[in-house]
């Protein structure tokens, strides 16, 4: 057992927390409080279920608080924000709260990391649970102290009378025992889970912990090499596994020459239908075995084409599904009356999660119980997927999330868990699988490629009278947003489950009021129905960057066509006051001087500078970004030198965590804009490492990122994990246009492409 596992297990909480005991349901009357004392003698434990307060909050024997959270932190410090919300409602010091994340043995399924809902939905539930816990504890104290509940207050975990004469601490009231308080569960699991109690949370004006820039506690252990990642977990008897992928996507093993690895100690082949992997006692031996194993692959017809043909393919491919938002007015009729029509088309490639390390998972099967250590941001779903993959009941599977080598959506972690499970089942040993780099970048699920057609109708005065925006691309969900079904993992597909894809894309999230407006999307079929390195899935802000690169670039094109300043143009048509506020705030902070783009004062040679703005909504959050870029007209190289970001996600829980999150989004968004493109040929993906899938280098990082954090304490917090990546590409594209007068409509803006566009 690792130190992390020990620290995160409810069993160890019970060991340190003393007897397993229960308090009772509500309302807490004298009878029921007597019931507590009776329950003290019983070792009953409430089930780990969404409708139990004990599933979210426990007061430990020492009076500290454990918060069991069914979402997890992907590096933005979410657990600090959750700890702040819990501490706030419980009236305990922040340092008294430990947030325990992502272990299916200790938390219910709150959806995992998903859609920037950590605070928005996960935090909302934890806030309600903590408020309920405080209410119950105050009621218990009222009985114990014989003081009416409404005359008690709580100071750092101690319930006390107004004169301070009578006191009862949380520790004394329930320390080391579990709440036995039912909640009003909405019968949903995942993101939609909501189970409030009778208590109402505090009024934001009373907040003392929420809103403070509290630092993360996990950074020092990482920096001093004291914390394990999921790649570092080891158990007795563990062997190392590696998976072998075909050189031609879709090819399957026909003959395997096991003698080709007989010289490698302990090396063994595991083949299960079209799944093929190796194990060995030592990691280096497993790697060598995976490289030396001779496999005769089937003569599969190469399923793809050259990535240079990608956009033609999308353009010409039959539409599988079309879906429009509810139209405004009559777009077709309005275009017939137009004095002028502006049209443009934009292109976005497949992109890889390209996490810092390829995914890793460890699976142990012991006495019929399965334990999965996974870096997947959705361990509860992984437990389901592993159960189905190896044919065991899900209640026999415990999935423990341990931070992995980065996660920005449905990456390769879920595939690694299924692979490790197949190997563990076949060999009877605990198996740790880590992919190799080419598998991490080449075979992870991809953010989908797309094209976007926009057109606007102008009247004789240059007013926009109609707007149409249609995306066409691969679905965002060839594989599900989690590995809960065998069809969603490579192991499942290679063992006979075809891709169970659904059609999904998205539309621009903005509040432009045009009298006639039609926005929609179309999907095309996946290129291979199983085992595809180009299967699509959710990558940070799924389809948001591509859609808003196009829609916000196009707004600039229209502004330029009518000779309007890009900020003034947006403000003319924006409706939502919060949208207007972020656009104004970003422009003001950036020192934006109104004038139309492009900047006619710029020379046609050398390095020229420009500024661009873009804005977007996402799930209740609104962001406006001003980018200032330098364009080297000789080399085509772009330096996105400065960003000014105005960010409104309602109530801010932790401004420091928010600022770091925004910075990460801006840099990752810049990387995706300037460099990132999955390349492939007929046989498979050819961008398989950091040389062939380059990302932004630190020498290209911005000089500065200025954040304007708009705090709205009275607006329920929405998300921050993704919204600020959304408009980065358009802000950069608009700044390039401002600098050069040239519009770049295809991502990435690599130097050769920019140079060609400028020529």
């Amino acid at each position: 057992m690792t130190k992390l596992d020990k620290a995160f297990s409810r069993r160890s909480f019970l060991k340190t927390g003393g007897m397993l005991v229960v308090s009772v349901g509500m309302p807490v009357t004298l009878d029921l409080v007597l019931g507590v004392n009776q329950a003290l003698a019983q070792n009953a434990r409430p089930p780990l279920a969404p409708d139990q307060l004990s599933s979210y909050i426990a007061i430990n024997a020492d009076g500290s608080v454990s918060a069991f959270f069914g979402k997890m932190d992907m590096g933005q410090g979410l657990f600090v924000a959750i700890g702040q919300m819990v501490a706030e409602e419980l009236d305990v010091g922040f340092n008294r709260v430990k947030v325990i994340m992502g272990d299916t043995g200790t938390s219910v399924n709150q959806g995992g990391a998903s859609g920037s809902t950590g605070v928005q939905l996960g935090g909302k539930q934890m806030r309600m649970a903590a408020a309920e816990a405080r209410r119950v504890l105050v009621d218990m104290a009222a009985q114990k102290l014989s003081v009416p509940a409404d005359q008690l207050s709580v100071v750092d975990g101690v319930v006390q009378s107004k004169d301070g004469a009578k006191k009862a601490s949380y520790k004394d009231l329930i320390g080391g025992k579990y709440f036995n308080v039912p909640l009003e569960w909405n019968k949903q699991t995942g993101n939609a889970l909501y189970a409030p109690g009778k208590a109402q949370p505090k009024n934001p004006s009373e907040h003392k912990v929420v809103g403070k820039p509290i630092p993360r506690q996990d950074i020092a252990p990482k920096v001093y090499a004291q914390e394990n990642f999921n790649t570092d977990i080891r158990v007795p008897g563990m062997v190392h596994g590696r998976i072998i992928r075909p050189a031609v996507a879709g090819a399957v093993p026909v003959r395997v020459d096991e003698s080709s690895i007989k010289g490698i100690k302990g090396a063994r082949v595991v083949r299960d239908k079209d799944f093929i992997g190796v194990i060995a006692d030592r990691e280096w031996d497993a790697i060598k075995a995976s490289q030396q194993l001779k496999i005769e692959w089937s003569d599969a017809k190469p399923p793809f084409f050259d990535s240079a043909e990608l956009y033609n393919h999308i353009r010409n491919a039959p539409v599988r599904k079309r879906q429009d938002d509810k139209p405004v007015g009559d777009v077709a009729a309005a275009f017939k009356t137009a004095a002028k029509v502006i049209e443009a088309e934009y292109e976005w490639p497949f992109q890889s999660h390209a996490c810092m390390g390829p995914a890793c998972a460890l699976v142990q099967i012991k006495d019929g119980n399965v334990t999965v250590w996974t870096g997947s941001q959705k361990p509860h779903f992984v437990a389901n997927g592993v159960a189905d993959t190896i044919g065991v009941p899900v209640d026999k599977v415990r999935a423990i999330w341990v931070p992995g080598p980065g996660s920005y959506g449905r990456n390769d972690a879920d595939d690694a868990a299924a692979d490790a499970a197949v190997l563990a089942k076949a060999t009877g040993k605990p198996v740790r699988v880590q992919y190799m780099r080419d598998q991490g970048t080449g075979w992870d699920p991809k953010g989908p490629a797309s094209i976007h057609r926009a057109r606007a109708a102008l009247d004789a005065s240059g007013n926009v009278i109609a707007y149409e925006f249609i995306s066409k691309g691969f679905s965002r969900v060839d594989v599900d947003t989690n590995g809960s079904k065998p069809a969603a993992t490579l192991a499942g597909q290679l063992r006979g489950e075809p891709l169970a894809y659904v059609d999904g894309f998205g539309t621009p999230a903005e509040s432009y009021t045009f009298a006639n407006k039609l926005v929609g999307w179309e999907t095309v079929a996946p290129l291979l129905d199983r085992g595809s390195p180009l299967r699509s899935a959710h990558l940070r802000d799924p389809v948001g960057p591509q859609i808003h690169f196009a829609s916000e670039s196009f707004m600039d094109e229209v502004a330029s066509a009518v000779g309007a300043d890009p900020v003034e143009f947006r403000l003319k048509y924006l409706k939502d006051p919060r949208d207007i506020a972020v656009v104004k705030a970003a422009a003001e902070k950036a020192g934006w001087k109104p004038r139309p783009s492009p900047n006619k004062a710029n020379p046609g040679t050398g390095t020229v500078s420009g500024r661009g703005i873009a804005y977007s909504q996402r799930g209740g959050t609104v962001v406006a970004i001003v980018a200032e870029v330098d364009v080297d007209r000789t080399t085509g190289k772009i330096w996105a030198r400065k960003f000014t970001v105005a960010h409104d996600c309602g109530q801010i829980i932790n401004p420091d965590g928010l600022k770091h999150t925004i910075e990460g989004n801006i840099v990752q968004g810049t990387s995706r804009t300037l460099w990132e493109e999955v390349t492939f040929n007929a046989k498979g993906v050819t961008s398989v490492d950091w040389a062939t899938y380059p990302i932004l280098d630190i020498t290209e990082a911005p000089e500065s990122i200025e954040c304007v954090l708009i705090n709205r304490p009275d607006v329920a917090p929405s998300g921050a994990g993704e919204p600020s990546i959304r408009a980065v590409s358009a802000a950069i594209a608009n700044a390039i246009f401002d600098a050069t007068g040239v519009r770049i409509r295809r991502v990435p803006f690599s130097p050769d492409r920019v140079k060609a566009a400028l020529a």
């Binding site: 992907m74 590096g75 933005q76 410090g77 630092p215 993360r216 996990d218 950074i219 020092a220 990482k222 920096v223 001093y224 090499a225 914390e227 394990n228 990642f229 790649t231 570092d232 030592r282 990691e283 280096w284 390209a354 996490c355 810092m356 390390g357 390829p358 931070p403 992995g404 080598p405 980065g406 996660s407 920005y408 880590q434 190799m436 780099r437 420091d656 770091h660 910075e663 990460g664 989004n665 801006i666 840099v667 990752q668 968004g669 810049t670 990387s671 490492d689 950091w690 040389a691 990302i695 932004l696 280098d697 630190i698 020498t699 990082a701 911005p702 500065s704 990122i705």
Partner: protein
């Protein structure tokens, strides 16, 4: 299988390994020093970086046979919470990492760089760290932290 005795974080450690086995696997799997991470195995990202006689070296492409008597220092040997290296201290103060999987590369490379460059400019820091990867995009914090560390030293 040959036996190698390596000097790691000031201690003699012995491993039976193929001569071509990268140092990374000896550190992680045989010595239990988990801090160097496998990122690429191609010397493209830096997640596996250690110091070998004071120089920042990618342990994923350095064979155990090539280490010889050189002194190997991993992140765990660089400093402790009680006696932190300035880069570690600055990393905590600037709250740099997000997922944190990349930090060996940045911290070990920056520490070696600052040994020879006491007062680096912003541009020198960027150049010294060029080629290292951070997928979460913490580059702004990294630059702030290395500057802060230089001021401490």
């Amino acid at each position: 299988m040959p036996k190698y005795t390596l000097n790691v974080n000031g201690k003699a450690r012995t491993v039976d390994a193929d001569a071509d086995m990268p140092l990374l696997y000896a550190l992680r799997d045989d010595f239990g020093l988990n801090n160097p991470h496998f990122g690429c195995g191609l010397a493209q990202c830096g997640a596996c970086t250690v110091h070998v006689d004071g120089a920042a070296v990618r342990s994923c492409v350095t064979s155990v046979a090539d280490v010889g008597k050189a002194k190997v220092v991993t992140l765990a040997g660089l400093g402790t919470p009680q006696k932190p290296h300035p880069v570690q201290k600055a990393y905590v103060e600037e709250q740099v990492p997000q997922c944190g999987y990349c930090i060996n590369g940045w911290i070990m490379t920056a520490a070696a760089f600052l040994n020879d460059n006491k007062k680096p400019t912003d541009g020198e820091i960027r150049d010294a760290l060029s080629g290292l990867k951070c997928r979460c995009g913490t580059h702004m914090s990294i630059i702030r932290a290395v500057k802060r560390a230089a001021e401490m030293a």
